[in-house]
């Protein structure tokens, strides 16, 4: 797969990232009932992200902005690694989930930086989601299972 260069393929790519991570959180919510609410709130937030990205993209895209030339991202950099649901313990899963979140966050940050001033509202939404991702990472890092390592 080549680099992501058009707005359309980038939007599709981030939607896939959101969908994939939502599936992972749904699985974790089922397995670790004590954090059911937290993981499902992430699922809901992912859906919100997709809606926000689509609203920004479909709302502002015009033939006057650089939709076809605003990005140059290597999707390999943001590929999600080990499947967190296959891990033995919650602590191990959390490590992978945090790694996944960092990749998603950097995808949004990089996309926001590249398209800044070119794609109007779209980079703003990307930057906003990247910030939310940072908060999510902090929440995950503070879970007692991760701190205890078990």
């Amino acid at each position: 797969m080549g680099n992501l260069r058009t707005a359309s393929e980038l939007i599709t790519f981030v939607k896939e990232l959101e969908a994939r991570s939502a599936e992972i959180y749904k699985g974790l919510a089922e397995r670790y009932r004590q954090w059911n609410d937290l993981f499902l709130s992430f699922v809901k937030e992912n859906e919100k992200h997709v809606a926000e990205v689509e609203r920004a993209y479909f709302g502002v895209i015009t033939d006057a902005i650089e939709g076809g030339f605003a990005f140059n991202l290597d999707p390999e950099q943001y590929k999600l690694g080990v499947e967190p649901l296959k891990c033995e313990s919650l602590a191990e899963s959390l490590n992978h989930v945090i790694e996944m979140e960092r990749k998603i966050q950097s995808c949004y940050s990089d996309a926001a930086e590249q398209s800044k001033l070119l794609m109007a509202d779209v980079p703003q939404v990307f930057a906003l989601i990247a910030k939310r991702r940072e908060k999510r990472i902090r929440k995950l890092e503070l879970l007692p299972e991760r701190r205890k390592g078990g």
């Binding site: 797969m1 080549g2 992501l4 260069r5 058009t6 707005a7 359309s8 393929e9 599709t12 790519f13 479909f58 709302g59 502002v60 895209i61 015009t62 033939d63 006057a64 902005i65 650089e66 939709g67 076809g68 030339f69 605003a70 001033l117 070119l118």
Partner: protein, 497 residues
């Protein structure tokens, strides 16, 4: 990334939409071909004069009731249409890619811009208001009422099949007129879809009509005594010598938008990275087939190093453009609309060489198409330097993915070069200097001006301007100017005894 699903599954014969009915034309059928795949995707009729006359009759019947419909009620039809357009946004966009060849990002941009005109026209109760002054003399008041004129013909071009008729039609019907749209016969499917949604929105029969066809329909529109005005977008020879001239002879209102040969001026103090992204969109977006596209790049300044490095980066960026079928999301540039248009652009490239320009990137030779598509309509981005203001590749509209490059000593010289060109549609400058930008804006002869914007496309609430050989008429499409074009100002002077 996968190729998005095609919304057109079978070859349908398009019908005219006259008086709220879908009517089969008696005219000859012509193939509508997807320029990327070279497959036939529809058959469009070349309608007859009688069919245009039938549409005029339907519009005449609808007009007296429609003009009496309160503006707020007319606006509600447009609100419903806007909802339907949003629901069908993606389908409409993909249809445009299939019929025209543009990328999916470009098609979505076109759809959005079209819908924005419907949105603006929903504000008709405010937009159509007149004005008044009490006591122009003691006890006498004077006011202006805006009234609809009648029936308008709207003639669309091939390069923005969905959007351009919407620069006019929503304002025309919102102000109480009836319209007959003749889409380009090369790209008629998105207008057919739009008419289906108009039908679904419940517009009264005869308010919005579509008659497919070619010159016969255009001539009949121009000559018909019951058509009050024409909104046309197309080439300059047709806009000037056919539409504008004939409307003058027959006493019709007219908006006739023609071609362009736009300049982009780059100052040495520009933000290079962002300027290059904008240049790619401006010169190669929509495969160069738009009247706001950059055609000639003027790099200002005597710094040879800046020029050399800048042009190297431009050539590098252009050479990396992914070319292919626009429904592939990774594609940045689609084919030209048809083979004839490709041949025409190639002639201009040959002309540039003959006139002494040096080819830096040759889209004829370096063409790499992503996917298994015939080369028929594809042409790669082409850049040639050393062009001069008198060359035909600067003076005439090329309408393809080419960039001619020239240098200017300073901003004064760049402005002079731009102002000597007969076309005055869109000129843009890239700079970080407010002084240079202000000077450019102030002195440049151009209907639309971009400052760090490569495509100076006015939003729906501003007029789509243009002057010189790019525009013939007085009022422009879109926004308040469209409201004025589609209404008669009636002045009332009132005194009560």
């Amino acid at each position: 990334m996968a190729v998005l699903e095609e919304p057109i599954k079978e070859v349908k014969v398009l019908k005219n939409f006259i008086g709220g009915e879908w009517i089969e034309s008696k005219g000859q059928l012509v193939d509508v071909v997807n320029p990327a795949t070279c497959k036939v995707i529809a058959k469009v009729p070349i309608s007859t004069e009688e069919e245009l006359n039938a549409a005029v009759e339907a519009a005449k019947e609808a007009f007296p009731i429609w003009r009496r419909t309160p503006p707020l009620a007319r606006a509600r039809y447009l609100f419903r249409l806007k909802e339907l357009l949003e629901e069908h946004f993606e389908e409409i966009s993909r249809i445009q890619t299939m019929e025209h060849g543009k990328t999916i990002d470009e098609s979505r941009g076109e759809t959005r811009r079209g819908i924005e005109n419907v949105e603006v026209a929903t504000g008709i109760p405010s937009l159509m208001m007149g004005y008044n002054l009490e006591d122009i003399a003691t006890g006498i008041d004077e006011y202006v009422i805006r009234q609809p004129v009648g029936i308008f013909g709207i003639i669309g071009p091939f390069n923005f099949p969905f959007m351009i008729p919407l620069w006019s039609a929503p304002y025309a019907v919102a102000t109480g007129n009836c319209v007959i749209i003749k889409p380009s016969s090369e790209v008629p499917i998105s207008q057919q879809k739009l008419a289906e949604l108009v039908d679904e929105a419940g517009f009264p029969p005869g308010v919005w009509n579509v008659v497919h066809g070619g010159r016969t329909v255009v001539s009949a529109m121009l000559d018909h005594p019951d058509i009050a005005g024409i909104a046309f977008v197309g080439s300059t020879p047709t806009a000037k010598d056919v539409i504008y001239k004939r409307c003058g002879e027959t006493g019709k209102r007219v908006i006739a938008q023609g071609g362009a040969a736009n300049f982009i001026v780059v100052m040495p103090d520009c933000s290079v990275q962002r300027t290059i992204a904008s240049l790619m969109t401006s010169f190669f977006g929509n495969t160069g087939q738009r009247c706001l596209a950059g055609q000639t790049l003027i790099v200002v300044g005597e710094d040879d190093n800046f020029y050399k490095r800048f042009i190297e980066r431009v050539v590098d960026a252009a050479s990396q453009i992914t070319i292919g079928y626009g429904l592939d999301e990774s594609v940045q540039m689609g084919p030209l609309r048809d083979e004839e248009k490709k041949k025409r652009v190639i002639k201009y490239i040959e002309m540039a060489e003959e006139e002494g320009a040096r080819i830096l990137l040759d889209g004829r030779k370096s063409l790499r198409i992503k996917g298994d598509y015939p080369e028929t309509c594809f042409l790669g981005p082409t850049i040639f330097e050393g062009v001069t203001p008198d060359m035909r590749v600067v003076q005439e509209e090329i309408f393809g993915p080419t960039m001619g490059v020239m240098r200017a000593r300073d901003l004064d010289e760049a402005i002079e070069i731009c102002n000597e060109n007969p076309y005055q549609n869109a000129q843009c400058i890239f700079t970080s200097s407010g002084k240079s930008a202000r000077e450019f804006r102030y002195r440049i002869r151009s209907g639309n001006v971009g400052i760090n914007i490569g495509i100076a496309a006015p939003m729906a609430f501003f007029p789509f301007s243009g002057s010189g050989e790019s525009f013939f008429g007085v009022l422009h499409t879109q926004g308040q100017e469209a409201i004025r074009f589609f209404t008669e100002s009636k002045v009332v002077i009132e005194r009560w005894f």
